[in-house]
């Protein structure tokens, strides 16, 4: 990149720092954008600018939104009394793509982690306790990762909500769709066996 003009070099460097991109893919992207300025660069700029100005965090659930309260929280059909607790917005989007859950969410913004010194007050756990305490919640579904940190967080939340008497559930563990036993780790097979059901 010795001789690419400075502005272009700076853009490539910016791009190369984004997740999933490196210097090579950033160069390719920037060239593409420059060579298709009207079809690609300008619409992208406009879309980025709109999002940069409007994106905010939903004050109720922590989802990313273009309004103070997100579209899911304002949708009365989704006020089913079920709250699905997820680690981050990417997980919320993944749940939505699944299309099965019809209630509301609560985005923690991470998991408890002794290693990274992330405690309950760094996450949106107090807000969750308040939200459940305010009533109208029938069930809290813990959709957290099946990792040590994820499960520690799940147990902590279950404890913190214990006094409210709300029903607390967690995603089932088992064999994923299309999963071949041969390629599954032993932990998953064990969990699926313990949770076996009538056929």
């Amino acid at each position: 990149m010795d001789r690419a003009p400075n502005d272009i070099e700076a853009l490539i460097a910016q791009m190369a720092r984004l997740p999933g991109l490196g210097p090579r893919s950033a160069r390719r992207l920037v060239l593409h954008l420059i060579q298709r300025r009207d079809q690609s660069m300008r619409p992208l700029l406009a879309a980025l600018d709109r999002v940069s100005q409007s994106a905010q965090t939903c004050s109720q659930c922590g989802n990313i939104s273009t309004a103070p309260v997100c579209a899911i929280c304002t949708d009365t059909r989704r006020a089913t009394g079920e709250i699905c607790v997820v680690e981050d917005v990417a997980d919320l989007w993944a749940m939505e793509r699944g299309g099965v859950f019809k209630g509301q969410y609560h985005v923690l913004g991470g998991t408890l982690s002794a290693l990274d010194a992330i405690g309950p007050e760094d996450l949106r756990i107090p807000q969750l306790v308040d939200r459940v305490g305010n009533g109208g919640v029938r069930e809290v579904i813990l959709a957290l990762a099946a990792t040590v940190d994820g499960q520690t967080t799940a147990h902590y939340i279950a404890d913190a909500l214990g006094h409210t008497g709300v029903k607390i559930t967690a995603l089932a563990q088992g064999v994923p769709m299309g999963g071949e036993l041969d390629y599954l780790d032993d932990g998953t097979i064990g969990a699926a066996l313990r949770a076996r059901k009538d056929f």
Copy 2:
């Protein structure tokens, strides 16, 4: 993406259409940008905006530039009388990363292709002939892909420049650095054998 707000959805759709990105990596990118608005989104917006406004094609060589004539063409130290002919700007950048070539470039903007109905007048071949005809050029180095279209283009250019008497060379073909014979195609091995040299 059912429930991501519309502006954000639109941005993800824009991103997903860029080369090397798909819906999944676009979602990841957009989330990253929104969650790091000040460190990532705003600098990227500013850099994109600058390039969108300033990027143009060098009128002499076809390189991408932020000025009417690019930094390589205006650098008098590079007026060595050597012109390296490349297919596109990505190839020019690749040559520059190599750091060996110290002359100037000529970017064709593609290769001749009967299949895609790309003829000489669709490329910057007439400009190359003019440039060589204007004098001051000692050698034209054809750095085109070792593909049928690349080599057809090379032969066409050599013919078109025949009357100028300028020296015309092409990149050597052979075993790439770090290349193991076992993994090389037969064509490359044959070319490397025919072009063998004293050791």
